[in-house]
């Protein structure tokens, strides 16, 4: 299995705009330790894109809305990015859902039972912090969450969760000391406590994320080599063919719509204005749908 990470970060439904920003920093962190990152954000954080890439990765990171038995992805109404029925696709992987609500209640245990190395998530709601007038609590949240992700990449999963809890405790102490003079310290203390006390590691607490084990190269060399390797990979070529096929289908559907709706309307208008004869219009009506039928279909 390639040593890669798959990072999914929805950004439309509040407060995922904040976790999206947070994941920008997590992505940089992953790259800084030579882990290759495939990232999907917003509407691309979907079941389709995730499952194409999932088998190639050994670290799966999700930051977004979730329920006890599923990770939602961008579509919080459908909420089907990963469900308990998909648990077996994470075999041998480390799965991190932070921030994500309640994912360690039912989904996490199922994923670990189905063969994942470890699952890190919360059994309760997870909270964002915000920038308020008296203090930028959001920066604190970024700091303690990045502390966690740094530890995920360099320590065992059990140690990473301990580091997460210690980092949060530091801020909880700070908020507690300012309950009287920071108007929103009360809520932020509560939110931090919820994040700290309900976050668990399921499965192997000694599991570690494996680095690429390659000699560091310059960023330019590495980017070029990775780009070439990715482009010439048979799996990539297969996927590119699929994408091209789907694009052609989309084009075909568009052409058919034009042929069945736009062409008759346009030719009728042109005949009425005297721009073309009825014979020319008949030819156009016959030829353009004919061209549309030549477009690829699935």
């Amino acid at each position: 299995m390639a040593e890669e990470s798959l990072l999914l970060s929805p950004f439309i439904f509040p407060p995922t705009q904040l976790s999206y920003q947070l994941m920008n920093q997590v992505e940089s962190l992953l790259k800084s330790v030579n882990l290759r990152v495939v990232r999907f954000s917003g509407p691309l954080a979907s079941k389709e894109t995730a499952f194409i890439h999932l088998p190639e990765h050994n670290l799966f990171i999700y930051a977004g809305h979730a329920k006890k038995d599923r990770l939602c992805g961008e579509n919080v109404f459908l909420c089907d990015l990963v469900t308990v029925a998909d648990a077996s696709i994470f075999q041998g992987q480390i799965v991190v859902a932070n921030p994500a609500c309640e994912s360690a209640r039912e989904l996490g245990p199922k994923i670990v039972d189905a063969g994942a190395k470890a699952f890190l998530g919360s059994v309760e709601n997870m909270y964002a912090h915000f920038n308020e007038s008296e203090r930028n609590y959001q920066d604190d949240w970024f700091d303690y969450t990045l502390t966690f992700y740094r530890s995920v990449l360099t320590k065992t999963m059990g140690e990473a969760v301990e580091d997460w809890k210690n980092a949060i405790t530091h801020y909880m102490d700070l908020y507690k000391a300012h309950l009287d003079d920071w108007p929103n310290a009360d809520w932020n203390y509560f939110a931090a406590k919820m994040n700290r006390d309900n976050f668990v590691v399921l499965g192997d607490k000694q599991a570690v994320v494996q680095g690429q084990g390659i000699e560091p190269t310059t960023l330019r060399e590495r980017g070029l080599l990775e780009g070439l390797a990715y482009l010439l990979n048979p799996e990539t070529l297969r996927k590119q063919w699929n994408y091209a096929f789907r694009s052609l289908f989309s084009f075909g559907a568009l052409t058919a719509t034009v042929a069945t709706v736009a062409v008759p309307v346009a030719t009728a208008y042109a005949i009425e204005r005297g721009w073309m004869t009825k014979e020319h219009a008949d030819i156009a009506r016959a030829v353009i749908p004919g061209v549309a039928t030549l477009a690829p279909t699935p």
Partner: protein
């Protein structure tokens, strides 16, 4: 006395939020099913309003109540949980 009607809604769906705790000058009320809580306050003073619902970003503001009349305050709460 002045009357302060505070209406709390979800910033995304715009739906009224019931059972939200609102603290004004040390007194705590809970919004009804319509998302509204009403305080009767002495006029000619400023008050700190704290609106708290665990799943939403905290809302804290200071408002002036200069006259004995009815004031309307709309509070749009932003989701804070994932």
């Amino acid at each position: 006395m002045a009357r302060l009607n505070i209406k709390v809604i979800d910033s995304y769906s715009k739906a009224p939020l019931p059972y939200v705790h609102i603290e004004v000058d040390g007194r705590v009320l809970t919004t009804g099913l319509d998302g509204v809580a009403t305080f009767d306050l002495p006029a000619g003073a400023s008050y700190i309003i704290k609106v708290r619902q665990a799943a939403y970003r905290p809302w804290t503001r200071t408002i002036q109540i200069p006259q004995e009349t009815t004031y309307e305050q709309l509070v749009e709460l932003e989701k804070a949980i994932y």
